[in-house]
């Protein structure tokens, strides 16, 4: 019974969110994308604009994503040590 009430509530919330999302007018002017598409090859020499974005224009994103991958691997290694393993360090 509890699941039915929760499902009904979330269903109506989802209907409202879909309606609101369709009520937002679409963006027709994209100045940053136009600038990138126009100037990326002449400025960086990279034909792939996506690579230029994540390595040159927004490189902090890539750096801290790499840091977070390293943190998650440290977490996986130090949480998966159980007592009595034969592979223990």
């Amino acid at each position: 019974m509890r699941r039915k009430y929760i499902g009904l509530f979330i269903f109506f919330v989802g209907i409202v969110v879909v309606y609101q999302s369709n009520a937002i007018p679409a963006l027709n002017v994209k100045p940053i994308a136009d600038y990138l598409i126009k100037n990326t090859y002449s400025k960086t020499g990279s034909e792939n604009v996506v690579t230029a974005v994540y390595l040159f224009y927004r490189y902090y994103d890539t750096l801290f994503e790499a840091l977070m991958l390293l943190f998650s691997i440290i977490a996986v290694i130090y949480m998966s040590v159980h007592e009595g393993d034969k592979y223990d360090e």
């Binding site: 034909e47 890539t62 991958l69 592979y87």
Partner: protein
């Protein structure tokens, strides 16, 4: 995974070099074609998963792979700081292309090491 399949062993033995070549191709051509460090690293790490499927033995030193990954992150930080924050790329003509190829290689190495460590930890340490 204790029984060794003869068919899987032979197929993986043929397929290894092509998968490695495909991953290196994706990483090195990240700046002129669809691809890049993340995708190529995932393809490179799938080699070790195939190796595990054919021969489920522990042959890697995970501590050494983690050390490689730490130094890859350090070199990525140094490379980005040197090229972009300190404006070295304005001194040479096509230096940003070399920066992108180098950064893609380092990111590919890092992602491949990370996925390999996660998969081998789950396969050998958590499967009881």
């Amino acid at each position: 995974m204790n029984d060794h399949s003869q068919l899987l062993n032979r197929t993986m033995g043929i397929i290894y070099p092509f998968v490695i070549l495909f991953g290196i191709y994706i990483v090195l051509n990240g700046h002129i074609s669809p691809g890049g460090g993340f995708q190529g690293g995932a393809v490179l790490s799938s080699v070790f998963i195939a190796k595990y499927l054919s021969q489920p033995i522990m042959f890697l030193d995970l501590y050494r792979i983690q050390t490689i990954e730490k130094y890859a992150l350090l070199s990525l930080l140094i490379l980005a700081t040197l090229f972009i924050t300190l404006n070295v790329y304005q001194l040479f003509v096509h230096s940003l292309v070399y920066y992108m190829v180098l950064a893609n290689i380092i990111i590919g190495l890092k992602v491949a090491c990370g996925m390999t460590i996660i998969f081998y930890r789950f396969a050998f340490y958590e499967s009881r």
